[in-house]
């Protein structure tokens, strides 16, 4: 935690200078990579292989789409990249560090501060308001007292983000009072609160109609440009993948 705050002070506002420097790195640096990843699930006594040796590289500042049919293992791959699960074989590297075998504490810290996760079913906490939902990663990051100390700055940033995704009028609403698009935009704001280096999105538009899906995608795109984000998006919609810099196609557990 201390490491991340040193790199990226939480109070630091979104700065234009960062955005200026980033394109230079973009071409040269690999932010995340996966080498020969194998993963299988156990169904009773039967072992079902899902990923059969996947290699990929994600450049900093790129927009990568992972496409494939249902059951091709693209969600599993994203989970492995997000360290929510550990591969049976192979390695995941992030910023030149192997992260798949780190102790859970460190993996949690990386998830919390370096990754922004967006899910198909939004996964907002139903008891919390929009603002509180966006603040959850910060609450998880800080202890009780440091959170109270930094609360004002967090709130300011959260409010900015919520306004940025166009939900300024929905600040105190519960998820149950919002539409799917609004919920997904809240989830995007939540993914951005910790100023992550990479956004991992699992079918962010999968549960939305076309119009809402486009809105969400637009939001994501504009934020990516503003904040110089690396985005990895899993989708089964080939048309969505067209807007990506790079498309990785998964068929039957292998990159094609």
């Amino acid at each position: 935690m201390s490491r991340s705050t040193a790199v990226k002070p939480a109070t630091l506002p979104l700065s234009k200078s960062d955005g200026g420097k980033a394109p230079l790195k973009l071409a040269t640096q690999t932010l995340m990579s996966a080498n020969n990843i194998h993963k299988s699930y156990r169904k009773g006594t039967l072992e079902v292989p899902v990923l059969k040796g996947v290699d990929l590289e994600i450049a900093e500042g790129s927009f990568t789409a992972i496409v494939g049919q249902s059951g091709s293992g693209k969600s599993t791959l994203l989970h492995l990249l997000a360290t929510l699960d550990a591969p049976d074989q192979g390695e995941v590297h992030f910023q030149d560090r192997r992260i798949d075998n780190l102790p859970s504490r460190q993996r949690e810290a990386i998830r919390n501060q370096e990754f922004g996760l967006i899910f198909q079913f939004y996964h907002l906490l139903p008891e919390l308001s929009t603002l509180e939902n966006v603040l959850v990663p910060k609450m998880v990051q800080d202890g009780f007292f440091s959170y109270l100390r930094n609360k004002r700055a967090y709130k300011k940033r959260a409010t900015e983000l919520i306004e940025m995704v166009g939900l300024g009028h929905r600040m105190t609403h519960r998820p149950s009072e919002m539409s799917g698009g609004e919920m997904q935009r809240t989830a995007i704001a939540r993914a951005l609160i910790s100023e992550p280096s990479i956004i991992l999105a699992d079918e962010p538009t999968g549960n939305l109609d076309e119009q809402n899906g486009d809105e969400v995608l637009d939001t994501l795109n504009s934020l990516r440009n503003q904040e110089n984000l690396t985005v990895v998006m899993v989708t089964h919609d080939a048309s969505l993948a067209q807007s990506a810099d790079k498309t990785i196609k998964l068929v039957d557990g292998r990159v094609v």
Partner: protein, 622 residues
């Protein structure tokens, strides 16, 4: 932070959790109420049980004696040392108490205690229980003029409620008046009888003169004539020792002749009839003898000699041969006796149908006690005493059995005083220990000093005496606490079940939190915190509810009584006018902590389950 926020939100939004809270609340409130009432009850009961018992007692067996009590008290003082607060010697023996209630004899068994005026009060809480306010401050066995409570008795007498010297004088006066009336009637009877006898004698003489020449046959015939039954009736009424009774008349009365009164004599015979029961009455021993009109030489001297208070008369001159003649109940009292209130008090129904207290005897009345002398060949002794006061310790067991008389008197009467040395033995040495001294330890030390192999003494603490009751109450309290904690444990299982449900319901949220970087321990502490919050809220509500209930328990009992018509707390059974309660902060704290820890423990399993959820599985969960 998210842990607190989520615990709080879950608490506010899950109404199912309310059920668990209510069961915790009820359990805690019940525990507090029951514990407060029980400890209030036990404390009250203990102080009552202890009441007129001393802390530790060295007792000779029944009718036995402890010789040379000074030696024993010295030894006890050596053994127990500084633990002793005070000590007293007591003579204790069973006795029969007899008194008269409206002409009927009432006898009952009592435990008679001869107590030392000063030291007994220091060893036990005897004085505060006395009914006469003067005696509480300045104790004596004298009958008082005032200070007795106004016992609203339904005796149907004009001096209702009175006690003391006034009552005694009035009663004696009444008896004297009745006696005077009786004497007057007797005199009338004597006159009538004399007149009748004279007439009869004249009649007989005339009859005898008339039949002077008649033989035995004629005499026998004559016996059947109408005049004869007069003689028969005379035999009945005047008695067998009458000098003018003849053998013929005797024969006739025995052969079953009916009495036919002479017409002119009828009113006199009615008067004689009326006398009959009163005459029988006169033969009965009465506590209050009529003061004679003249004194014997001896009694007169005593009266001259008397320079003591009226109270001392009995003690000083009991042995005098003419004591009864000399004793004036209007001015004198016998040895004072103090009885338990329950001995004299009975319930009666007054004119308005309400239950009332009826006092069979009251201070100022004389009673008799009969008890055995000491030693192997014990003989019963009967002794007059004047009731000077009641005591009421509110322990029925004591109030219905103990009677107190002065120690020295009892020693003298029972023959416990050595005629040569003048040393008096006792039957019991009672010891009061200092506050906080260990009673059992003191008893064991005394047992070691007076081993039962050598000394035939029974050494026990007051708790030993009441051991069965005390241990029963203690066991009751323990069991009750155990059972009530079971109630809270049941509430704990309720929390367990509810939480498992909530964990299942929140699986996805748990997955999200983990995906956002929340550690397992954090997820676990959400649910532990939730359980603790439930426990805290439930316990606080329970503590408040319980304390309010305890505070207003008597009013609540009244309301319940009003609704159900059943008396919840009958003061005549428990001898408390109100339900006694003691709220111990320690108990409340323990109950509260216990309830909270049960709630936390119940949430451990669901929390562990939540913590072990795999984030991917949890996110996939639909």
């Amino acid at each position: 932070m998210y842990k607190l926020l989520l615990s709080w939100r879950y608490l506010r939004t899950r109404f199912i959790a309310l059920a668990s809270i209510i069961s915790v609340t009820l359990g805690v409130a019940t525990l507090i109420v029951v514990n407060s009432v029980m400890s209030g009850f036990v404390c009250e009961m203990k102080s009552r049980l202890h009441g007129i018992l001393s802390d530790v007692e060295v007792a000779a067996p029944l009718l036995g004696q402890i010789h040379n009590p000074e030696y024993h008290t010295r030894i006890i003082r050596d053994v127990l040392g500084d633990d002793i607060e005070s000590m007293t010697c007591v003579v204790r023996n069973p006795a029969l108490l007899t008194f008269e209630v409206n002409g009927r004899q009432w006898t009952q068994q009592v435990m008679l205690l001869g107590i030392d005026d000063e030291s007994f009060g220091a060893v036990t809480d005897f004085h505060p229980y006395l009914q006469n306010t003067h005696k509480r401050d300045q104790f004596s066995f004298d009958l008082e003029n005032q200070g007795y409570p106004d016992w609203a008795a339904a005796n149907g007498e004009s001096w209702n409620g009175e006690s003391g010297w006034d009552y005694r004088r009035r009663k004696v006066q009444k008896i004297k008046n009745a006696e005077a009336r009786r004497l007057e009637q007797e005199k009338l009877y004597d006159l009538a009888a004399a007149e009748y006898l004279e007439r009869q004698a004249a009649h007989s003489r005339a009859w005898e003169a008339h039949h002077a020449n008649g033989g035995a046959n004629a005499q026998h015939e004559a016996s059947i004539t109408s005049e004869q039954p007069i003689a028969a009736s005379q035999a009945t009424f005047i008695g067998p020792d009458e000098p003018n009774r003849s053998s013929v008349e005797k024969n006739m009365s025995e052969s079953g002749f009916q009495y036919v009164p002479l017409p002119e004599k009828a009113p006199d015979f009615a008067a004689i009839h009326a006398k009959q029961p009163e005459k029988a009455n006169e033969e009965k021993p009465s506590a209050l003898k009529l003061a004679p009109t003249h004194y014997s030489q001896n009694g007169g001297n005593l009266r001259e000699l008397r320079k003591f208070s009226p109270v001392d008369t009995h003690a000083k001159f009991r042995e005098e041969p003419n004591f009864e003649d000399f004793f004036d109940p209007e001015k004198d009292q016998y040895t004072g006796i103090i009885l338990g209130l329950a001995i004299a008090k009975r319930k009666t129904i007054g004119e308005d149908g309400e239950l009332k207290d009826f006092y069979m005897v009251r201070p100022g009345d004389d009673v008799q006690i009969m008890f055995p002398t000491v030693g192997g060949a014990a003989k019963p002794i009967s002794e007059n005493c004047t009731l000077v006061d009641f005591y009421s310790s509110s322990m029925h067991e004591y109030d219905s059995s103990f009677a107190f008389v002065p120690l020295k008197e009892l020693q003298k009467i029972r023959g416990m005083v050595d005629p040569l040395t003048g040393d008096a033995s006792v039957s019991t040495i009672q010891i009061k220990l200092k506050e906080g001294a260990n009673l059992d330890e003191a008893r064991d030390k005394l047992l070691a000093q007076f081993p039962p192999e050598t000394y035939p003494y029974d050494i026990h603490t007051w708790q030993d005496t009441q051991r069965p009751l005390l241990s029963a109450v203690n066991m009751e309290l323990t069991i009750l606490n155990l059972l009530l904690f079971m109630i809270i444990a049941v509430a704990g299982f309720g929390i367990l079940a509810t939480f498992f449900m909530i964990v299942v319901e929140k699986t996805k949220d748990i997955g999200v939190l983990k995906a956002l970087g929340a550690p397992s321990s954090g997820v676990m502490s959400i649910f532990l915190g939730y359980g603790m919050a439930l426990g805290l809220v439930g316990t606080s509500a329970g503590v408040i509810l319980g304390l309010v209930f305890v505070r207003y328990i008597n009013q609540i009992a009244g309301v319940v009584q009003m609704i159900t018509g059943q008396e919840v707390f009958d003061p005549t059974i428990y001898y408390f006018s109100e339900i006694p309660t003691i709220v111990s902060p320690m108990m409340v704290l323990m109950v509260g902590l216990g309830a909270i820890s049960i709630a936390v423990m119940a949430s451990v399993l669901p929390a562990l389950r939540a913590a072990r959820l795999h984030p991917v599985e949890a996110l996939r969960y639909e």
